[in-house]
Amino acid sequence: MTWSSALPVLVILSSLGPGLVIFGLAEHRTRARTALNVAAALTKLGLVGIILVGVLRGEQFQARIPFVPGADLLLRVDSFALLFVSLSTVLWLVTTIYAVGYLEGSTQRSRFFGFFSLSVSATMGIAMAGNLLTFFVFYELLTIATYPLVVHEGTPAALRAGTTYLRYTFFGGALLLVGTAALYVTVGSIDFVDGGVLRSAAESSSRATLVFIFVLLLAGLSVKAAVVPFHGWLPAAMVAPAPVSALLHAVAVVKAGAFGITRVIYEVYGIRVAARLGLMRPVVVIAAVTIIYGSLKALAQHDLKRRLAYSTVSQVSYIVLGTALVGTISTVGAVVHLVHQGLMKVTLFFCAGNLAHELHIHDVREMRGVARRMPLTMLAFTLASLGMIGIPPLAGFITKWYLGAGALEAHAPWVIVVLLASSLLNAAYLLPIVYDAWFREPRTEWPGRTGGREIDGWLLGPTLTAAALALAAGVFAGTSLSPLGWAIRIAREEFTG
Amino acid sequence: MSAWSIYACSGAAIIALSLYGVFACAPLLKRILAANLIGTGVFLILVALADRSAPAQPDPVPHALVLTGVVISVSATALALAIAIRLADRRSSDDEGGWP
């Protein structure tokens, strides 16, 4: 096993191994657990760094483990994989630290952090999957690893949410499995290839079959991506503790769905074939519907996390939309939003977590004047909100700009209307919160806190870090190593492939 | 209609009857008997088939198979009876030296 083939495996093991050890740790050994977590996260960060340098040098990182006949477990690091890997790794570090603070004194933490690490490992596998089967394997592992986190609190509500989560995701998994098998049988290869594996096979096999398989795959992936009508689990799952929401919304799950959709469209079917089969327009429409629907539902929610959840439903479909528009520019928008949405949404959930943890605020109507009590938290919240809405020069603006331009490039000007509408709706469900928090009198005096700081550093630190990252992603978008820089690089690969 | 085929048919009849007995008789003891009798039927068919070459000497292989089969069927019946006895014997001690 050479160095270049060992690295991808190590990236997975760097969280899997510690995760398994953490399961074994006794409940009270908080310090050991935290040390192990942080050490693992930093190790992974280091490994990703090494790979990053390597990829920039043009090295190939690939590991192959024989699996079922005809399809190995294949881990391959291309730019797109690397983007997702880096995002998840960074956010894992941040979220882990946040979780340590958030869950202080709660029970079953060894189990929690164990499964947390497992989830991240699964995500790494999804990101680096070199073929559809490998993707599926980790996709299902992610489902299983996240379930215990969703039901972590063990309350009836949590258990109900968990069951809903499983119903949706297993259903999606089943569709994905059948789709993958069908693809394997009809095409003979299920590898991810720049430009798509179907380019050659498309002629040989019937259009109906290919469309059918495409529908199976997309439906299966749309469940995790929370695309309407498969979004039901996401709002339900917000009963989970804030770090879990961060994991579901930003680090892993919905991302996995969107990422998979992009892979299938670009590297399995290939945009040309997909477009020729006339599959893209419907996807664009569904994405557009989801964007608007999600925003409208968000507007109707009073529970802060619920509102954020619907906001995710809407925001993730930006990625789907950009992918389906089929154009270099829109692809850039889609890919970069994978990162931007992650950074912004993780910030927002951290803030929501801070409010719930410190002041037991769950309802947006309780947030009047909360900024006086927690200015830094609300600063982060405000930044992220403005980013979501798409105020220049923040991250969200970059996304929407590229998507809009992409829409024109793809001769779908109506999409711009959708984008504008959703931006207005974003503003409508986020700005009032911000306004209330900063400029209105609190109903009651907030319970004070000894030590003067607005909240424990374990919680505040990650929140501000995430916000800073979201800000930086927008401000420094010009640089080549920025998410945008990578997105452009990726888009180029996808289209030259 | 030669001898062997007569006995073969008889064997078929025995198999059918005793199969019915195994699945449709209420008393366990009768079911045990029936299970044993299926064997008799099968053996009859085997031996009948072996005698198709009559008057030439019969095929020894089926005879050997039947001898093996008889041993097995006796073992099975004996075991079944032993269990049936235990089931029926109200005085039987459930104690087997405190098996874990």
């Binding site: - | 001898a3 085929s5 007569i6 006995y7 073969a8 048919c9 008889s10 078929a12 009857l17 005793s18 199969l19 007995g21 699945f23 449709a24 008789c25 209420a26 008393p27 366990l28 003891l29 009768k30 008997l33 029936a34 009798l37 008799t40 053996f43 009859l44 068919i45 009948a48 088939l49 072996a50 198709r52 070459s53 000497q57 019969p58 095929d59 020894p60 292989v61 089926p62 005879h63 050997a64 001898l67 093996t68 008889v70 041993v71 006796v74 073992s75 099975a76 019946t77 004996a78 075991l79 009876l81 032993a82 269990i83 049936a84 006895i85 029926a88 005085r91 039987s92 001690s93 030296g97």
Partner: protein, 314 residues
């Protein structure tokens, strides 16, 4: 074959299924058992008619004799009334009825179509010399298909271990026997039994007979002696009994494994000593089988609630 033969065959072949039907239909178990024994004897005739003397011997000794004795004895525990029953729904009975009728008819039709007398008689004869056994059936049992027999003995021992759940019921000793006659009878019988068994065993190599037939006779005699309280019923707690129980299979395995050392196949007797080895196996098997058959016989229930039956522990 003469018309008389035909009539005889037809009658015999009809009587057997009828007996089976009676066995299963009769109200009380006692008569079922009696009919079962009768069937054993009748079928012995059938085996003889089909030129299968060894099977006739075994059937007479085991089918009618031993199994009969076992059943009688079981009745003395269970009682002639139904014993433990498993109720069967009418629907089941009808369904099973239809199914087995189909099986029976189909089977009969299939069998009588097997008119072409194919078999392995010639192959057996051709290789009889290589097997160093004069009697074909014994050659098949211990040479050509000796592996079957080896596993069959394993089945026998397994069943013995399972059937041996009690110490035998009628424990000899203290209480005086019902009458002296059984003893006398037994005393007279013993040598005859042993003689017959030995004879059967010895001639097994050249003519009908062999380990199992001999063992059956021995066991039959043994049961008689136990009933007459001359012989202590075998108990696993005695090392001798256990040794006798495992001896047959153990020796068989030893002989089977021996050729492997010389690179030959499993159970490939070295031709020089084949005959002796086969006979030695027969002797060992006779011992084990007769012990097993004897152990199948649980003895009678001791009278009275007080007498609990201790495990046959070892």
């Amino acid at each position: 074959m003469t018309a008389l033969d035909l009539v005889f065959d037809v009658v015999l072949a009809t009587v057997m299924p009828v007996l089976v039907w009676r066995i299963l239909a009769s109200k009380d178990l006692a008569s079922s058992v009696v009919l079962f024994v009768a069937l054993g004897l009748v079928s012995a005739l059938a085996w003889a008619r089909l030129h299968a003397p060894d099977i006739a011997l075994v059937e007479a000794a085991v089918g009618a004799g031993l199994t009969g004795a076992l059943l009688m004895n079981a009745l003395s525990w269970i009682g002639a009334e139904a014993g433990v029953t498993e109720p069967v729904s009418r629907a089941t009975r009808v369904g099973v009825g239809i199914l087995v009728t189909a099986v029976g008819v189909g089977l009969a039709v299939a069998v009588i179509h097997l008119t072409q007398p194919v078999g392995l008689a010639h192959e057996v004869d051709a290789r009889l010399a290589d097997a160093h056994v004069d009697y074909p059936v014994t050659a098949v049992l211990l040479s050509f298909r000796g592996y079957d027999t080896l596993l069959e003995i394993a089945v026998l021992v397994t069943a013995a271990l399972g059937a041996r759940l009690y110490a035998p019921g009628s424990v000899p000793g203290g209480d005086d026997p019902l009458s002296p006659h059984p003893r006398v009878l037994a005393r007279v019988l013993t040598p005859i039994v042993v003689l017959v068994a030995g004879y059967l065993l010895w001639r097994g190599a050249s003519a009908p007979g062999g380990a199992f037939q001999a063992a059956a006779v021995l066991a039959g005699g043994g049961i008689l002696l136990v009933l007459a309280r001359v012989l202590r019923p075998p108990r696993m707690s005695s090392i001798a009994v256990r040794a006798a129980l495992v001896a047959g299979l153990a020796w068989f395995i030893a002989v089977a494994a021996l050729p492997l050392a010389t690179g030959a196949q499993l159970l490939e007797y070295p031709s020089a000593s084949a005959k002796q080895l086969i006979i030695s196996i027969e002797v060992a098997l006779t011992l084990s089988i007769s012990i097993v058959l004897l152990m199948f016989f649980p003895g009678e229930p001791a009278p009275g609630e007080a007498a609990r039956h201790p495990e046959d522990r070892w």
